[in-house]
Subunit: 440 residues, 2 copies
């Protein structure tokens, strides 16, 4: 078998056989197939797609390419949430303690921010001392003690995915549904999950801007997840504006802690609403609750009783962070006091937000990565004060840019100001936060 013959088949829209997919992924894993051959196949898959059989086989092969975490000694259901990525998308920090407080084991393998999207690991690292580079033993110990642990993908987990993901970013093949599905499910499967809820973002700040394509991705994720033995459900949720108010690292962690403390601004309400809905679905899929109603009631109790915040505190302490962040986020987190107003240039109604542009503006402040090797400045960010549908006057504050570097701040102000579309007419069809649940 030769790599180029497999590439040729996909190029010519022929179905790849399991033996061919396994040969290729094995070659990727062991460095026997050249990067330029991998990327040629990635582009052929991007343009010609994969059918269900190929999709399942590719995912299984990538899942099996490395070690698989074994948490069978932990006598709890194992579940996780994954998001396809957006701007201000911080629900992992709320969901993990909520669901863990309900008796579910949450082994959360998260990612770094890249381009316009933030990353859970970057956000957590804004807590002084917090370590995400855990050994397998540490990860399991913290899971057992706290109920959840947060770490990055290691070299042992789904190494084929790690290799292919790096190439996809450099070859414009990130957005291919078969590759997204295989990447997500292979990593989750290798983390030993039984149940998984996937938050498929759709809109101007998501990889999928059109609902139809987002739905196709959600369906492929659910089908492939289930076929790999993980009970899987996907929610199509709105990403036509930043989720909540905060976009950045420290300021997003602060927003999450305020939610867990029950002391938050109204702008953060969608973060809580979405976190609760995703958590409730996790509890049902994990067979903790029989219905979403029961799950929501359980979640309300752990939130209001402070048990979720307590889990968060335990996790921060266990992962080396300063647990006082739970009591005094502003005192512990590296936040910038220097702020610059983003003003509305005209009166009217907010009709749309070019959300990706807000993500890029915050990344350019230092809050995100343009290249994978860039360092993050956890202190910078943007706090929005308006949402789609709001009426504004000329000169009204749309939000605040936080940065010590004035010239960068002014550039961010300019970009974010331009990202808000303001029209004369009230927008009738406001975006729905949760658009659809995809069960199969």
């Amino acid at each position: 078998m030769r790599p180029q013959d497999i590439i040729r088949k996909k190029r010519d829209r022929e179905q790849l056989l399991p033996a061919e997919i396994n040969f290729f992924i094995d070659g990727v894993t062991h460095g026997q197939i050249a990067d330029y051959q991998i990327s040629a196949l990635l582009m052929a898959i991007y343009l010609n797609g994969m059918n269900d059989a190929e999709q399942q086989c590719l995912t299984e092969a990538m899942l099996q390419s490395g070690s698989i975490l074994d948490f069978s000694s932990i006598a709890k259901p194992k579940a996780d949430k994954h998001s396809t990525g957006g701007v201000g998308d911080k629900t992992s920090l709320v969901i993990a303690p909520l669901v863990a407080a309900c008796g579910v084991c949450v082994p959360m393998i998260s990612g770094r921010g890249l381009g316009h999207t933030g990353g859970t690991l970057d956000k957590l690292e804004s807590i002084p001392g917090y370590r995400v580079g855990l050994s397998a033993t540490e990860f399991k110990d913290i899971l057992e003690q706290v109920g959840y642990a947060m770490a990055g993908q290691t070299a042992e987990l789904a190494p084929a995915d790690k290799k292919m993901y790096a190439l996809r970013d450099a070859t414009a093949t990130v957005e291919a549904i078969p590759l997204i599905v295989a990447s997500i499910i292979s990593k989750k499967g290798a983390a030993g999950l039984e149940a998984m809820v996937i938050d498929v973002k759709v809109g101007s700040g998501a990889f999928m801007r059109e609902e139809e394509r987002a739905r196709a991705l959600a369906q492929a994720l659910v089908k492939t997840g289930n076929s790999c033995g993980i009970r899987t459900r996907a929610l199509l949720t709105d990403m036509n504006q930043p989720l909540g108010s905060a976009v950045g690292n420290s300021i997003e962690v602060k927003e999450c802690i305020e939610i867990l403390r029950g002391e938050f601004d109204p702008g953060a309400q969608p973060v809580l609403d979405l976190s609760l809905e995703l958590s409730a679905n996790m509890l049902v899929l994990a067979h903790v609750d029989a219905s979403l109603e029961q799950a929501h009631e359980r979640l309300r109790q752990v939130l209001e009783s402070g048990k979720a915040l307590e889990r968060f505190r335990q996790n921060v302490a266990a992962q080396g962070g300063d647990p006082r962040v739970c009591d005094d986020p502003s005192g512990i987190l590296p936040l910038v006091s220097e702020s610059h107003k983003v003003e509305s240039r005209r009166p009217g109604y907010i009709t749309a937000v070019e959300t990706t542009e807000i993500g890029h503006a915050v990344a350019a402040l230092g809050g995100g990565r343009v290249r994978i090797e860039d360092k993050i400045d956890a202190s910078v960010g943007f706090m929005s004060e308006v949402k789609i549908g709001d009426q504004v006057t000329a000169g009204q504050t749309l939000g605040m840019v936080y940065s010590r570097d004035e010239s960068r701040a002014l550039e961010a102000v300019r970009r974010i100001q331009a990202a808000y579309q303001i029209g004369d007419e009230f927008k009738e069809d406001l975006p729905t936060l949760i658009k659809e649940v995809v069960n199969e």
Copy 2:
């Protein structure tokens, strides 16, 4: 500008701008763009194509990527022939001396055999002592003295093509028309040509099996060649059976010398016919003759007078080969006397030949390359004794396999026997050697 953004545009079927194509080819030439990014773009071009403007720009950029040979001190028209490759396709060895004898300067940059096709350089090297690795000065000196010189692509000529060609072979992107066109024309343009005739092979032994696709390639070659300032014409010619009788290296050189000597078997007639037609077109494009009829008359004279053979002899001597090969090919060339009959399994008419399979069978004998680094055994080969349309009896010899290695020879006999289709009915529509001339 980032390579992945250019890849993304082509992936999304957007037109690449000249600045983008130039940036990419410049990055390829100077090693600033990773192989995996080049191959992703190659696959995107394969699947999404290029329009005329992109095609011309790509070709120009590759042409300008290295040095351009300057033969302006040679006061003759410069012309060359290029073939898209086939089995037994040896016309370069006949055309170069013929056309040089007519007063045209022929700076022929040729290739090596790969896969089922042979290569002019490999064939020439079967002449003891013959060197194709000429310096630029040697190449020019021989051109001046003899009228033609034969060499391989150097690192200086169209280096972007050299890099991309190697990647195409490993990534199943060889057959893309925009890439074939840019590769051929950039090399020919860098060799300082004014006129060029391209032999576009079509049929079971060609890269293009369908006439429609071959015609599309021919049209793209002619259009792009002309737009790069080379007067270009393409001939669509038959490759549904080996050209002539000989398939191999020494035996193909022998067939060519016999043609130049005027002492050849009837099976070699198509080689002469095609060589004359391609040469006549070169003479017309080079403005040596006003019509094909005049050109044919001139060619007949240089052939019959022995002037073409004399040029061949001068070239062999100038490039270090043993010129006695012109008088006694069988005594000088490394030929194998051990032969194995390929017999017809049944009586009937030859209706079709799986020509690619014959090429592969000879390559497997050692006469060609499976991998680019393989060494050639110049002595082996296959001599066919029948052509499509011929009537055969059961057990009649279809041809002879030459090899000292009996087990390899028997394998070649088996493969070649299976490559000949023999039916009960005479095939009415025999393949036409020259199917079409494409002028624009």
